[in-house]
């Protein structure tokens, strides 16, 4: 189990790094899916099979399909690729990396100081999760449904706008 964990961790990290450094969106997207799959494995290792399945189905499946559609709709040509490549100069990475390194160092330091007690592997299946979801978290579920509805309406509204019309509104009401 531990080996599986380490291997998938390494895969997740590597895939993410590769995703970050791609110039073409589709390539990056593929690496992202790999990263998500690796995390799904880790979920399984941690004894959360339900969530692992959801990660596969929803994240790596549905959401990423959405991305693919958008990338296709955008139809970014060679022009963009060249521009992206120009922007991937090392100097662009230094500042963010330093900041991120500080954050990570702090995180690890706190983790080391806090001392996490070891825990036995116990699988928590969909039953417990479902009971919990529709028990104490009922209101949360309702709120989430409303959020999703909001997202739906918002996306529909933005997508249905006619481009020239929007431009006019922007001009008059900046």
């Amino acid at each position: 189990m531990t080996i599986v964990f380490y291997v998938s961790s390494a895969v997740a990290i590597a895939a993410t790094v590769l995703m970050l450094t791609r110039v073409r969106a589709v390539h990056a997207l593929l690496y992202l899916i790999v990263s998500l799959l690796a995390v799904a494995v880790i979920f399984y290792v941690l004894g959360a099979p339900f969530v692992a399945a959801l990660e596969l189905i929803i994240y790596a499946g549905a959401i990423m399909v959405l991305f693919v559609f958008v990338v296709m709709l955008l139809n970014l040509g060679e022009e963009t690729v060249r521009a992206e490549r120009a922007l991937l100069a090392p100097s662009m990475w230094i500042g963010p990396s330093v900041l991120a390194a500080i954050l990570l160092a702090e995180f690890i330091w706190m983790l080391a100081r806090g001392g996490v007690p070891p825990a036995q592997a116990v699988s928590i299946g969909p039953v417990e999760v479902g009971i919990s979801l529709f028990g104490p978290y009922l209101i949360g579920v309702e709120l989430t449904s409303m959020l999703l509805l909001g997202g739906l309406v918002g996306a529909y509204h933005l997508g249905s706008r006619k481009a020239p019309h929007t431009e006019v509104t922007h001009a008059t009401h900046p």
Partner: protein, 621 residues
């Protein structure tokens, strides 16, 4: 009879109120009748009260009438109450009587002025305040009258308000006298704090019980009251307002700035004489102030061109004599001189008013001349007044009162030879400038044609005053006896000079002044001019003409700094603290808004940096 005393201030006050509110709609005849009548009634009433007082003196030689308790806080209970004793009786009688004469004079002098009713309203208010001042039973009520007369003085100096110069003169008068009043107010606080009362009689008793002679409290209190007196009576160093006050109508100058209000300081010191006896140093200061003032003002009077300014300086000088008398402990003599001065100085002003009006508001004496024949009535009255002022021996009232003061200076334990010599020098000066004035105005060649002749309403008061200027002097002995009921007598001692020598020297001094004036201004005018245009003469002339440069000095020391700082600080420097804060906020706004670049990554970096910082704080704290 005595219980009608409250009517004496009340009637003029009521009349002033009526004139102020309804005056503009009244006919000028009605205004004149009401204005003068409102003074005639108290004058007559006061004579009756005086008769009653003399014939049947009240117990203790004083009558007190309490109207109501004015303020009542704890033990501080000053009342609106009047106190009538020999001192206030004489003062009130003289004031109401002279006021009445001047009011009659004004009915003609002011005729046709657009502010006719306003003038009488102010004048009546003045009489009411003056009487309140004199009759006040406590120092707070006295202060009320004191400020009231100051106010009327201000209003009347600036009566012709359309000329800003008059307004400025009035303001100067009010402010300079108020400088003294401020000292006096602090004196009242001191007296109440240490003695627990402001009733004058209680005050004097308690003071003599509690304080030793020369105690610092007594000295401070007396000095502070002296400050008030000096301001009101135009003595050194606060005399500068009086010459400018001549901007007011002539009856005002006669009444307020010669006969009555300016002597309030004399009255105050006489009223509180007990304090000064406890503070011999301050009493000496009073004498020295008086002596210095009478000499300085006499010199200044010699150089003035404006007829009213000459008289103004002579008023300062004569009040200097009164202070001089108070300072040497000749309380009665001071009051006697007040009385004779009220008569002859009012007379001089009234006659001067006739001259000024006759010459179409000409004030410069060198554009007058030869008026002896044109205006004989004015000439004779002015001459009588002038002789009384200069002290023509044996005949005039001024001689007797001044003689008494000089004799007191020589024969008082508080007097010194130096003071006496200064007094005699003052007589020479007085006689010199008085006859300079008379010779220049009434003798020589006519310079301006006479355009207007006075009517009876103006001349009759002058005649009455001329009569009094002569006869009042013969009442010296009974007057002194009457005064002795209210004021302590002179502590005789000092040089012990005999009365004959003193009178002879005073008479000779008068004669010396007269002769010099005659020689320099009438017989040999070229000599006078030569003296004035010589180098020393020019310097002295300028120096004296500008009142010893005091105005110049005060302007630079007090007036300009205050005015400048007020002007410079118009926008309030403190506010710049707050406008500075708003500026700082605006500046911060400008610089912080620079961080709003609109770049998403920039914001994200801030969020990341911020969380790193927050976590660091959580870690290390």
């Amino acid at each position: 009879m005595l219980d009608l005393l409250w009517l004496v201030p009340a009637i003029p006050f009521a009349s002033a109120f009526v004139l102020a509110v309804f005056g503009p709609r009244m006919r000028s005849k009605a205004v004149a009748v009401l204005g003068a009548g409102a003074i005639a009634v108290p004058a007559v009433l006061m004579l009756l009260i005086a008769a009653a007082f003399v014939s049947a003196p009240p117990a203790g030689g004083a009558y007190t009438q309490v109207l109501w308790t004015w303020i009542g806080v704890g033990s501080f209970r000053p009342a609106i109450a009047f106190y009538l004793d020999a001192l206030s009786l004489v003062m009130v009688v003289v004031v109401t009587f002279v006021s009445f004469l001047i009011h009659v004079y004004s009915t003609e002098f002011m005729r046709g002025d657009e502010g006719y009713s306003r003038f009488f309203a102010y004048m009546n208010l003045f009489v009411a305040s003056m009487v309140t001042l004199l009759l006040a039973d406590n120092l707070l009520l006295l202060y009320l009258g004191w400020e009231g007369v100051g106010l009327c003085s201000y209003l009347l100096i600036g009566f012709w308000y359309q000329d800003p110069v008059n307004g400025l003169a009035g303001r100067k008068a009010f402010i300079v006298t108020r400088v003294g009043d401020t000292a006096m107010a602090v004196g009242l606080f001191l007296l109440f704090h240490s003695l627990g009362t402001l009733r004058i009689q209680d005050l004097l008793h308690t003071a003599s019980d509690q304080w030793q002679i020369g105690s610092p409290y007594a000295v401070a209190a007396a000095a502070l009251l002296l400050g008030g007196a000096v301001g009101k009576s135009a003595q050194l160093p606060l005399q500068t307002w009086l010459p400018d006050a001549m901007a007011g109508p002539t009856p005002t100058s006669a009444l307020i700035h010669a006969a009555t209000m300016v002597t309030a300081g004399v009255y105050l010191i006489a009223r509180t004489h007990g304090l000064y006896e406890l503070a011999p140093q301050v009493q000496l200061a009073v004498a020295v102030t008086g002596a210095a003032t009478l000499l300085m003002a006499g010199c200044s009077a010699l150089t003035q061109n404006d007829i009213k300014r000459v008289l103004a300086y002579s008023t300062i000088s004569q009040i200097g004599y009164m202070f001089f008398a108070l300072g040497v402990g000749a309380w009665g003599a001071a009051i006697f001189h007040f009385m004779t001065h009220a008569f002859f100085k009012a007379l001089l002003f009234l006659a001067a008013g006739v001259v000024i009006e006759a010459l179409h508001h000409e004030h410069n004496i060198f554009r007058m001349g030869g008026l002896r024949k044109e205006l004989p009535a004015a000439f004779w009255t002015f001459l009588i007044g002038g002789c009384a002022l200069a002290g023509l021996p044996l005949i005039t009232a001024g001689y007797y009162s001044k003689d008494l003061i000089l004799w007191s200076a020589a024969n008082s334990t508080a007097g010194t030879a130096g003071l006496w010599v200064a007094g005699i020098a003052g007589v020479v000066l007085t006689s010199l400038y008085t006859f300079r004035l008379i010779f220049v105005v009434f003798f020589g060649q006519p310079a301006t044609p006479v355009s207007h002749r006075p009517g009876p309403a103006m001349m009759i008061p002058a005649f009455v005053l001329a009569f009094l200027s002569i006869t009042a002097g013969f009442a010296t002995t009974p007057f002194a006896a009457f005064m002795a009921k209210a004021l302590p007598e002179l502590h005789e001692g000092g040089m012990g000079m005999s009365e004959v020598i003193n009178s002879t020297v005073a008479g000779l001094a008068f004669l010396a002044g007269l002769l010099v004036a005659w020689y320099a201004y009438l017989s040999n005018p070229a000599l006078g001019r030569a003296a004035a245009t010589s180098r020393v003469g020019r310097v002295l002339h300028r120096f004296w003409f500008s009142d010893w440069g005091m105005d110049w000095f005060y302007d630079r020391l007090f007036v300009w700094p205050v005015v400048w700082s007020a002007k410079a600080n118009k926008a309030d420097i403190v506010d710049s603290i707050y406008t500075g804060l708003t500026r700082l906020a605006a500046l911060c706004h400008r610089y912080f808004s620079l961080t709003e670049t609109g770049r998403l990554r920039w914001y994200a970096a801030w969020i990341a940096g911020g969380s790193a910082f927050a976590v660091a704080i959580a870690m290390f704290l």
